[in-house]
Subunit: 349 residues, 2 copies
DNA sequence: ATTAGCACTCTAAGGTAAGGAGTGCTAAGC
DNA sequence: GCTTAGCACTCCTTACCTTAGAGTGCTAAT
């Protein structure tokens, strides 16, 4: 489809533009990227690339700028794949996450920080959703006369606590018995499975009436409802430094978007199913406010189950090859950390 | 020091500037604020106010702008105190915090959101520091072969969990015994007191060697170390709308500051000791990046002990009287909510 | 003590011109 | 037939100038 020369030119334009967001002209390309042709020839090639839709001109007498389609082609066909030794990243990840491997919230928070300082874009992470993670223990603690603290300890270091109104006023003894029962019945299952079983058993139990058990089940159900995924985003300071965000309006768009966690979760969820690194470029995005941005994500796993998502949000002219491998490495790193924690538990079980 | 007329002028200038950040001129003051004097007279008065340092001119032929010192005088002497029926605020606080009263983190997060939407500035909150809060229960849960999840349930709905490397490998039975011991010994004391007692007892215990107890104590000590205050900030979108932040550099300053939680905590801590609403105006601030901003805070309490701080960060030309009472009302509201939760517990004890 | 009048200052906005970067096209060269 | 030098053309950017307007400070009159 494209001959060697066109590809060289496209690559040159993209690299130049990634480096500095100024339209790149034919003369500049010949000089900077050591072409054996004159600017005029390059101009012809560029005109062709514009016809295909890979480049565009901000105005008649300006240089060329890559389009989303151009980036897409670049990412899929002509990226340098060899940028994979993120020594610095691995180092700081290891250093910063060493002590956190069991508390996934702090861990993800630190991860986004590290991602953003290394990429100079926004680092994002979504914690494992409720469904996938496996319950280790459930603990019931009397909190006040009519309230109970329920603590769910799941895999991946997730600990979720919740304080519930207790309509039945259990004694401490009751609570212990309920806790023992719940642990016997449910630990080792995923939250999703437990929810399902709760539904089943409560349907059955309607007739049957060991009231303590049915109360226990309803308690457990309450505890697991609205136990949602968490979003972490950091690096606003980083992207404020980028020339494309010298316009306040763009910053407003972004800040609006990232303050609305629901929107982010929805966005990320749509990418959470595919294996490997996902790249969404500019207008491919479904969220209006982010159509000027690119998103690179990858899932991390716990054992063999997908757990959550990490990634980076940056301008469309981002340094794809570096950033993609950055995200890739980070996701693998997280998977590894979670595995270490998980193995012990699986062994124990 | 100042005659009636000067005060009227100062108030007029400040009100006008708060409303719209344009230098205000003598003619405008006479017209808008119905003075019986000519612009020339007002000019003379303004010149006097400038001499005292309450007003200043951006440039020779511009109107006047209040200085930090001017705001200070305004806040201390001439503010309308009567803006105190924040019906809307109370309503949305009540509505949004109804179900959260036992989980202080979510509660504070929602509080900052509410504060920022109502004030259109940044809402901030700092959760109770470790020292003041009272331990209700401590719970030890085996997490994996060599790790223990320690869960501290404190007053004010704080639940803090932490996963510790367990160097002694306790059996589940040991853990239960340790937990029972710790609860008997320490529940009802503040974290600060417990830390102190731990130090004392461990010094004594060096000779004495009921090893389980000494291990328990060291475990407890670990759990309580680095259990720090948490900062919540929201409303970036709000302040982006303000005309004074049309300059990117200012936004950078702010975003740098609020991404650095340590700096914020340090800042807030310096205000946490005084009773009532604290107002820091512009350059009175010690943090370089915030010298263009004002900070209004108030402590909220749990029982009679100061628990944490809530407040608002905004431009120096903020609407002090409204904002101050907003913060005041919010702090009282939090105190009330925490009290409801606390009373039950104190009764039970 | 107050104020009308006036000269003066400074900014913000608009308009024009020059400079420059880059293009597309054409015609000549290899 | 592909390449390229040359050239006219377009459009943005910048600087500079001008003008209008808002506001001041001073002075002299009330």
């Amino acid at each position: 489809m494209l001959d060697e020369r066109s590809i060289r030119v496209l690559r040159a334009v993209i690299h130049s533009y990634i480096n500095k967001p100024d339209p790149v002209g034919s003369r500049y390309v010949t000089r900077k990227y050591a072409f054996d042709f004159s600017p005029a020839t390059i101009r012809n090639i560029m005109a062709d690339l514009e016809d295909i839709g890979f480049l565009s001109q901000p105005h008649t007498s300006a240089g060329r700028v890559p389009t989303d389609k151009g980036y897409r082609f670049y990412v899929e066909n002509l990226m340098d794949e060899n940028v994979c030794c993120h020594k610095g990243l691995i180092d700081s990840l290891t250093r910063r996450l060493e002590d956190l491997r069991e508390d996934i919230y702090t861990l993800l928070d630190e991860t986004t920080r590290t991602l953003s300082t290394h990429s100079h874009y926004l680092g994002i992470a979504v914690s494992p959703g409720p469904d996938g993670s496996t319950l280790r223990r459930i603990e019931l603690i009397p909190y006040s006369d009519d309230k109970i603290a329920v603590i769910l300890v799941a895999n991946e270091g997730i600990i979720n606590h919740k304080i519930l109104k207790n309509n039945f006023s259990f004694s401490r003894n009751d609570l212990n018995r309920i806790a023992r029962y719940l642990n016997r019945e449910f630990s080792g299952y995923t939250i999703k499975e437990i929810r399902q079983r709760l539904l089943d058993e409560m349907a059955m139990d309607k007739a049957l009436c060991d009231s303590l058990i049915s109360k226990a089940l309803s308690l457990c159900g309450d505890a697991m409802s609205c136990y949602g995924a968490n979003v972490f985003i950091s690096g606003l300071t980083e992207i404020l430094e980028l020339p494309e965000f010298s316009d306040i309006e763009k910053i407003k768009d972004i800040s609006r978007t990232i303050e609305d966690k629901h929107a982010v979760i929805k966005l990320i969820d749509s990418l959470a199913n595919a294996e490997g690194v996902q790249v969404v470029i500019g207008a491919e995005n479904t969220v209006e406010e982010l159509k000027a941005l690119s998103i690179i994500t990858s899932i991390y796993k716990e054992g063999d189950k997908p757990a959550g998502v990490v990634g980076i949000i940056g301008p469309t002219r981002m340094d794809y090859s570096t950033t993609i491998s950055l995200v890739d490495v980070t996701a693998r790193f997280l998977t590894e950390i979670l595995d270490e924690g998980g193995q012990e538990w699986r062994k124990e079980r």
